[in-house]
């Protein structure tokens, strides 16, 4: 084996290990923090490449069956990578809880997806397209991205599953249980068949079944959003269309409370406080002609040490220089029809003052914009307990938005018959965060569909 091959194999081994829950059972990104669609796709590429790379020199050609749990973008990318890279003897069975693939982003017109804007000011972070070999897409509304991904998935199916035997999809899946020690999956769901990129029910009934697999890959995301319905307050799921980003059209002003200070909460903060807010253009609008210079400066400062730090002082230090004009531009765009309270006490009521929310729990971009809005007096921060905040600020029940993240471990626990076999490993992955979203696969690895398949 050449030195290069040995290096590739060693890298593949290391990468595979970062995804392993137990022998033959893997998880894609559910326990990682700072997750984006793009990063999940990179992780899917990395895992499938590693699995393939370590097997490719095996001459035995045995039938191989892979279970992919989750029909969202991570699961679809995993499945398409497998179809592309592994031979015809390898098939994928996908399990999706809802009734279509990529269900959350479909029809979502209020969320803008960009591959790497949350990596800003890193080099290349403003590039609009993913340039990924499998299921590539470019910035757009979530609904546009979903459309691209599903269209690309169909092209992969047309190219690599021409007889429609390699990719089997179950939708409406309930009662899914994994026995990790046996690589076994039990489920209740409806089998589908693929027709022109759509997945139609094969039967009117749900199959109750179980099967043993060679590999089980969990790409089911993070579970259900916490706190959407509690104490009489209902918040729509992050991916559901609503109107808070639009001007109020009955002439009134309204007061809102946003609970949370991760990327999701902060994006809603921007929608509620900035006039004509567009996630795709705000960076260019606030920095104008100074964007390149500012970006160059910030890149030079954005080192490993700063990435781990609270950014309040950093923003404060640059307020009168690099951020001065941006804050001025933002200050004339504060919405006149809303008052906004940002409830940011934290899950353990640990936060006491505004600087506490600038810990590395959200992207640089979002923290920067939040700081600027704070300096424009665009919102009122609040660190009381949740119910006390509502009372103190007289918030109407219908104007509460809770973005509290997900209880991922609880979600995972419900999926296993033998959770005890994977619990320790889950805790390890949660702490160590090893699934780096870097492009570990060898360039040129993944075969791609022909142009005819894409049409």
């Amino acid at each position: 084996m050449s030195e290069q091959q040995a290096e590739i194999e060693a890298r593949a081994n290391d990468v595979k290990e970062t995804f392993r829950l137990s022998d033959g059972v893997f998880i894609v990104g559910s326990l990682e923090r700072g997750v984006t669609v793009y990063k999940q796709q990179v992780r899917a590429h990395n895992l499938v490449w590693a699995l393939w790379e370590l097997e490719r020199r095996n001459v035995s050609v045995e039938k191989r069956k892979v279970a992919v749990v989750g029909g969202g973008i991570a699961g679809l990318t995993t499945a398409a990578c497998i179809l592309s890279l592994f031979d015809q003897e390898t098939s994928v069975v996908m399990f999706e809880r809802l009734w279509d693939l990529c269900p959350y982003q479909q029809g979502c017109d209020i969320r803008w997806l960009h591959p790497r804007i949350y990596d800003w000011p890193d080099v290349g972070s403003r590039k609009p397209s993913t340039s990924l070999p499998v299921l590539t897409w470019a910035e757009g509304r979530a609904s546009d991205v979903a459309k691209s991904i599903l269209s690309e998935l169909n092209a992969f199916g047309e190219s690599f599953d021409t007889e429609e035997k390699r990719f089997q999809v179950f939708v409406g899946v309930t009662d899914l249980r994994i026995t990790a020690s046996k690589k076994q999956v039990e489920w209740k769901g409806t089998e589908t068949f693929r027709k022109n990129g759509y997945y139609q029910n094969k039967n009117d009934f749900q199959d109750v079944s179980e099967d043993q697999f060679d590999l089980v890959i969990i790409a089911s995301g993070f579970g259900f959003e916490d706190g959407l319905e509690s104490s009489g307050h209902k918040t729509e799921s992050y991916w559901r269309n609503e109107q808070i980003g639009q001007p109020i059209i009955d002439g009134t002003r309204d007061k809102f409370l946003i609970s949370g200070y991760g990327d999701g909460a902060l994006t809603d903060l921007f929608r509620l406080t900035i006039e004509r807010f567009r996630q795709d253009t705000i960076l260019y609008e606030i920095f104008g002609n100074e964007l390149t210079e500012t970006e160059t400066y910030l890149k030079s400062k954005w080192n490993d040490e700063l990435r781990q730090q609270n950014l309040f002082d950093f923003f404060s230090d640059n307020e009168s220089t690099f951020f001065k004009r941006a804050i001025e531009r933002l200050s004339v765009r504060i919405r006149k029809d809303t008052d906004v309270v940002l409830h940011a006490c934290g899950s353990r009521t640990q936060n006491k003052e505004i600087r506490d929310i600038f810990d590395p729990k959200s992207s640089f971009f979002n923290r920067m914009l939040t700081y600027m809005l704070f300096r424009c007096d665009a919102f009122v921060p609040c660190f009381l307990k949740f119910e006390d905040s509502l009372t103190a600020h007289a918030i109407n029940d219908k104007n509460v938005i809770r973005r509290l993240g997900c209880s991922t471990k609880q979600h995972l626990k419900t999926m296993f018959n033998d959770f005890e076999n994977v619990e320790t490993r889950i805790d390890e992955l949660d702490v160590s965060q090893p699934q780096k979203p870097k492009l570990f696969w060898v360039p040129g690895t993944f075969p791609v569909p022909t142009r005819q398949a894409k049409q």
């Binding site: 609009p128 397209s129 340039s131 070999p133 590539t136 253009t281 360039p443 690895t445 022909t450 142009r451």
Partner: protein, 229 residues
Amino acid sequence: MKNEYLNPEPVPTATQLSLMPFLAAVQGALTVNDELPNLRLTMHRVMSREGGAFLQQASGYFPIIDPDRWSEKSGRIFPVNQGIIGKSYETGAIYRTKRFEERSELMEELKLACAESGQNVEEVGTSYLSVPILDADSNVVLVLYAECKEMNFFADDDRVRQVIAMCKGLCELFDVLQENPFPNLRNFSLESGTPVKGKRTAYQIQEPLDLEPPKFEKVVSFNFEASAA
């Protein structure tokens, strides 16, 4: 399971489209007198990936023979020392196939080269040209690649000068667009990287030319994409 890592990775369509009319024009200039057997013309760009620099084919080959399959080679990634384009990358110099008096001499040298590389001598070109397009600091940004099966085709200095002049026009255009981009269409800069090298180097039949390669004044990397802003 066989895979030599030769599959393409995406090149933004705006980048491809930026280069295609230019390549079509070069094709026209090269074939003005006669059809040129087995001409293959394309542009490679320097790109980086996790800190490593590579050459990437940024367009399908011209002339377009099969429109349905034409763009399939676009996106292939190569080590920076691959073939004649690698020579241009490493030296910043224009390379071309040297002049041979007899075809038999040329074929003899090509056979030796193909024996080493494992290629079929009947399938490879017999005349090659590689024109690096540099940035202001003499780093390679693009490499124009051409090959055909007409002996000594690129040994003609006047022909090479014409191609260089066309490349200079390309540089002037994109320098203007770098400073005055179209709305929603930008050159998103690529990170520089450490050159990644492979095994397949240039045939011995290639020689450097003592002609100044074309240069951008403003452009340092080539990655045009349509964007929302």
